[in-house]
């Protein structure tokens, strides 16, 4: 009870819980689930963008895209490390991903059909991720908050790069502009759905808000994202595919059409365009790497026993 009181006081004071601190089991499990899902999303998220590395249309864009996909692997690593501070191993986390027992962000179950999708993913998907994640930099769990600071910094860099890709296309040839508009048309609603179901239907939110794992409601964040995108779309010379999008002077915010939450549920439950492809890719890479990981372990064991064999 004293432990619980201390925990509550830390949360109330906007201080950080650290790995050595006592924490409620449910707080720990909620955090593991959330951080793991975020880490898995980075790992699976390498696929839709990696899909265009080999075909990037200039060497500079190829370098930027390679670096971005590399950063995603890096984010996956920090986040797995943050989750590990909660008493779960990397092996367990990876196993949860490849077995399908833990989810990753549903947005990565959509295909990247054209080069403009690389731009749209950067602008919209990374943009939505940032809106979601910036508040997490003040999350109550220290290692997660610190990981998020680093992740958000890089994500905003990626978002900027995505914006630039679309800016060039939006002001390019008619074919390029059409490609960009098509990508924005396809990614807009799935990006809105990234903020989760409407507040009325959101299950875990209340407890997470109390624990300061979550700081704003799904709908608040979604609105923030919409407001941010409207102006940027104009600069991109592109339109958002929502005929009902308009400024509401009373709310001082844009009214907009909600995404199709039934579709979101279908994709979450496994029936998106690429769920199986993404999982098959990840499982194949994991399985193909088994002999290498075994070899590395065997080699390390030999070196360790060599050292032991040295006379004292």
């Amino acid at each position: 009870a004293a432990l619980q009181a201390y925990f509550d006081a830390v949360i109330a004071a906007d201080q950080k819980i650290e790995p050595r601190d006592w924490m409620p089991e449910k707080y720990r499990r909620t955090l593991i689930r959330q951080i793991a899902q975020h880490a898995h999303s980075e790992i699976i998220g390498m696929q839709p963008e990696g899909n265009w590395i080999s075909r990037a249309p200039s060497l500079q864009r190829k370098a930027i895209l390679l670096a971005k996909v590399q950063d995603e692997a890096g984010h996956g690593l920090y986040l797995y490390a943050a989750a590990e501070t909660l008493g779960i191993t990397r092996e367990e986390l990876v196993e949860m991903l490849v077995s399908g027992r833990q989810k990753y962000s549903s947005i990565f179950n959509y295909p990247t059909l054209t080069w403009a999708d690389v731009g749209a993913v950067g602008w919209l998907v990374d943009g939505a991720a940032i809106v979601n994640q910036v508040p997490l930099c003040r999350c109550s769990y220290g290692p997660y908050a610190r990981a998020m600071i680093r992740v958000c910094k890089e994500e905003s860099f990626h978002q900027r790069q995505g914006y630039e890709v679309l800016h060039v296309l939006g002001h390019g040839t008619p074919g390029q502009r059409a490609m960009a508009q098509d990508a924005v048309d396809r990614w807009w609603y799935p990006s809105l759905a990234m903020f989760g179901p409407p507040d009325a239907d959101s299950t875990h939110s209340a407890q997470s808000m109390a624990w300061k794992i979550k700081r704003f409601s799904n709908d608040e964040l979604r609105q923030r994202f919409v407001d941010m995108c409207v102006d940027q779309a104009r600069s991109l010379n592109l339109t958002l595919p929502d005929p009902d999008l308009r400024w509401n002077a009373q709310r001082r915010a844009y009214d907009y059409t909600q995404p199709d939450y039934d579709e979101l549920m279908r994709v979450i439950s496994g029936d998106g365009p690429c769920n199986r492809q993404r999982m098959a890719f990840r499982r194949q890479a994991h399985a193909d790497g088994a002999w290498v990981r075994e070899a590395a372990a065997a080699y390390a064991a030999k070196r360790a026993s060599d050292r032991e064999a040295v006379p004292a």
Binding site: I43, M46, Q47, G50, I53, S54, R55, A56, P57, S58, L59, Q60, R61, K62, A63, L66, A67, V69, Q70, A73, G74, G76, L77, Y80, W115, V168, G172, T173, G175, Q176, F281, R282, A285, D288, G289, A290, W291, V292, R293, E294, A295, A296, A297, A298, Y299, K302
Partner: protein
């Protein structure tokens, strides 16, 4: 600086780096561990960076220094040249990379073994070029030598682990060495237009590779076959597929900026 043959020399080095980056880029998210995804992407980025510097330099070589057959039997289609024109608008007969770099990837043993064999050549190459008379080439080499030293180190570490790991990994590593070995001879064939005779890099390469193979308990192949032709634009059948994919988007939008 505009020695005759300089253009082809820069293409040879630049294409080695570009094609290596392209092949490594195919491995995104496919390696045995996340740390390795990061490392391979890093190496791909370094090679791509070197390629960009070398091709940009090549693009600025004055026309008078170009050989009669500009980079092959077919004319480079785009003028003015820049790194993208050279990367995206040449056909395989105009590429100058060594065949070693263009072979399709097999397994992870193949990836790290090829990297070992290539980096063991690039390390002394860029070391020597860093002292070249040509200041621009020397500056590129000074930057690149540090990067390829890391590539060599990374690849050697893996080849040791795989060669001296399990029976399976040993078998795969030996198969990779055997398959790739014949393609290493081409790295030391004469290459006009540059300040260095590649043959003079061979002793260094031999020393490095022999040592790593020995530590890895891998046999050095005794294979007399020495395929070549890459420096003259005579490639394997694999390169044109690699380029078809790499160039597809760029070529589908003639004249576009990206």
């Amino acid at each position: 600086m505009s020695r005759p043959g300089l253009f082809d020399y820069l293409l040879a080095l630049g294409d080695d780096a570009l094609v290596t980056a392209q092949r490594l880029g195919e491995w995104y998210a496919s390696s045995p561990a996340m740390e390795e995804d990061i490392a391979l992407a890093n190496i791909a980025l370094d090679q791509l960076g070197a390629a960009r510097l070398l091709l940009s330099y090549a693009a600025e070589v004055p026309d008078t220094a170009l050989p009669a057959r500009t980079g092959g039997p077919l004319p480079v289609a785009a003028r003015p040249l820049d790194e993208d024109a050279l990367a995206y608008r040449r056909d395989d007969r105009q590429f100058r990379n060594a065949l070693l770099t263009e072979l399709p990837h097999g397994d992870f043993a193949h990836v790290v073994t090829r990297l070992l064999l290539l980096a063991a050549y690039q390390v002394p190459l860029y070391d020597r070029l860093a002292a070249a008379d040509d200041p621009r080439l020397a500056a590129i080499a000074a930057k690149t030598r540090k990067e390829v030293a890391y590539h060599l180190d990374h690849a050697a570490t893996w080849v040791r682990r795989l060669g001296d790991g399990t029976a399976e990994s040993h078998g795969r590593a030996q198969a990779a060495v055997d398959a790739l070995w014949p393609y290493t001879h081409e790295l030391f064939a004469p290459l006009a237009g540059g300040p260095i005779d590649p043959a003079t890099l061979r002793a260094d390469w031999e020393r490095t590779v022999t040592a790593v193979l020995a530590e890895a308990t891998l046999a050095r192949p005794a294979d007399g076959w020495a395929p070549g032709g890459g420096r003259d634009g005579l490639h394997t059948e694999h390169l044109s597929y690699l380029l078809a994919e790499m160039q597809s988007l760029h070529r589908a939008h003639p004249g576009a900026r990206w």
